[in-house]
């Protein structure tokens, strides 16, 4: 209902929790003056499932499926972060082929996440068609991952100690074909989207994040790289098999939405490079560490392991008290930090800009709510 008061020139507008462009159940409480936003306040928690508490009541393996449901778009990175933390805790070493398979599948998953973002983001900007092209590509990718992991979205593929399923020839040839195909598709996206005047006008100089703000709000992922800081866990704290591959961290310079868009598209290209190299160098050998105990019962201790997901730094902090269940698991999720900058970016913009900015953050709301 509209409530105008005579003293105040502003009114509130509820964007969400059911709104076409809040991507799930995010609610943004806006204080508006005409079409301009004077204050924006994200309200989170509508998708809270208590993953961290669930962890305290399950043993180490039982929690594995939960990780995929925190960020369902880049589930394999969450699998990886959690598995690596548990491996650290127990002292397991993953064989090299296992690491390579992890990298290949996680990078494919990163591409699928970015493709979905690309389509959904352009949908936010009012372009309907790109999302179907993105889904067409993504469909190929999901079929590939389906073959190996057995699921299409909420993967539960990695295990502490390695991976349970080896790559087959069909997957390898299929992936190579996909890499080739996606490279040609990037040209289409460039022509359709990146060179579009309306798209450039909507995104250029909108939602600019300075480098100081990045640090202040603890942003990670494409958000911080769009502002020109080459911070990527895969390079800065290399894990898994990443040090063996030649890839660059794409960065933007201004930190506006366009930069973040470009960074994500370039990241997909880099992921393709990593996948190609990994397939070329794929070593033979076991995929699972030997002597993985049937019952994971780590000694007392604490570990923290960070990985780079499509949205930024995911950190898994496990406190063990020598039980079969973790004493406490803290999941550091990138979207929570990334969303926290929204109130500052939203001030003095239009509703249309808010939608554009919110989309460029690439939030996965269940990840924030956990």
């Amino acid at each position: 209902m509209i409530e105008y008061s005579l003293e105040e020139k502003t009114y509130t507008l509820n964007l969400g929790p059911q709104h076409p462009s809040t991507h799930g159940v995010l609610r943004v409480l806006l204080e508006m003056e005409g079409e301009f936003i004077t204050k924006a306040e994200p309200v989170i928690g509508y998708g809270h499932r208590g993953h961290e508490h669930m962890a305290e009541n399950r043993n180490y393996l039982q929690f594995l499926p939960n990780t995929a449901r925190v960020d369902y778009l880049h589930a394999l990175a969450y699998n990886q972060g959690y598995c690596m933390a548990v491996e650290k805790l127990i002292g397991l070493v993953v064989p090299e082929r296992g690491e390579f398979i992890r990298v290949i599948t996680a990078e494919l998953n990163r591409i699928s996440s970015h493709l979905l973002w690309l389509g959904a983001y352009l949908l936010d900007l009012g372009a309907f068609t790109p999302i179907l092209y993105c889904f067409d590509d993504r469909e190929n990718l999901l079929d590939l991952l389906d073959r190996i992991t057995g699921s299409r979205l909420t993967y539960c593929f990695f295990r502490p100690g390695g991976v349970p399923q080896d790559l087959d020839d069909e997957f390898i040839t299929g992936t190579r074909a996909f890499v080739k195909r996606l490279r040609t598709r990037f040209k289409d996206y460039d022509n359709l989207v990146t060179k579009n005047v309306i798209f450039i006008n909507r995104t250029k100089d909108v939602g600019v994040i300075t480098q100081e703000q990045c640090v202040k709000y603890g942003l990670t992922g494409p958000m911080v790289r769009g502002s020109g800081i080459p911070y990527d866990i895969r390079k800065s704290e290399p894990y898994s098999a990443y040090p063996q591959f030649d890839f660059v961290i794409p960065i933007g310079d201004k930190g506006d939405i366009l930069d973040r868009y470009v960074v994500r598209v370039r990241e997909m290209e880099q992921s393709l490079r990593i996948i190609e190299q990994a397939l070329d160098k794929l070593p033979n050998g076991p995929i699972m560490a030997e002597k993985v105990p049937k019952r994971l019962k780590p000694a007392e201790g604490e570990v923290y392991q960070a990985v780079e997901t499509a949205r930024g730094e995911f950190g898994c902090y496990i406190v063990s008290q020598g039980d079969i269940k973790p004493y406490r698991i803290k999941l550091r999720v990138p979207s929570f930090g990334n969303l926290s900058i929204l109130p500052e970016l939203a001030v003095d913009t239009l509703v249309a800009d808010l939608v554009a900015i919110l989309g460029s953050i690439d939030v996965v709301v269940p990840e924030i709510d956990r």
Partner: protein, 324 residues
Amino acid sequence: MELLAQFLGSAGARMLVGLIAVIALVSVNALFLIWMERKVAAHMQLRPGPMEVGPHGAIQTVADALKLMGKELITPDEVDKPIFWLAPIVVFLPVLLSFLVVPFSQSWIIRDMNVGIILILAFSTLAVLAILMAGWASNNKYAVFGAIRSVAQNIAYEIPLLITVMSIILMVGSFKLSDIVAAQSQYWYVLLQPLAFIIYITCATAETNRAPFDLPEAESELVAGFHTEYSGMRFALFFLAEYTNMFIVSAIATVLFLGGWHGPFLPGVIWFLLKVYALIFLMMWFRWTFPRVRFDQLITFAWKILIPLAFANLLITALVLKLR
């Protein structure tokens, strides 16, 4: 045949038959256009679109229309009831009346008025009023947003549109639509006035609230804009009006720039409809290709670029006509 011709000769009968024909045309046209839109969108998006009801889903929209008719007309508690109920009718009637003067062919005009073009433009402006009524009466912030945007947008785009129409009128020297078409028997005005044509199409897209100028109903921002609170047949009337409006603006463009019914071999009516649907296809193509512009950019574009361009075009037209 002769009797029929005699009967049709009388003005009253002509109006009556014309109105019935128009209502039939409007309904069939809207049903066809919605199906066409879905098919065009689908094929641009690598999918087949509706396929189940009828051959290639041809009567899918009939099924949709029946569904909408069967739906409950929800009137939310806090709305301004009379205006809320009136708005869908007000949006629909003017577009219906516009058909009275559209020259489908030399003889297929219900009433060939000497102020035809002015009548159409005046009626198509009335749609804004209905949108404002709908948005305001809905008592919903998103609806008010949509309505306000719609008014600002329509005022901004009406001006360049009228000016481009003016430059054609200057060349013909008549407001009569049949005269304008008749003047193009040699060459179409799109060749003489390409700039005016481009401005007209841009403005027409904005006038009909189509993407990339679909700000009044921008769903990623305003949920559904001014018709957020409407359901059932009332919502369908807005839809019907939108698609009929597309037909009207394309028909005007055909008359002004594409030589109306002129064309070789085929009868005039067929040529006219072909051109109209080609233009509608163009508008659909826009919608499924472009992202949406931002509201302030939209207004800036109209006032700072389109209006000066349209004025320049009008001045040059006048100058050339004078010097010739």
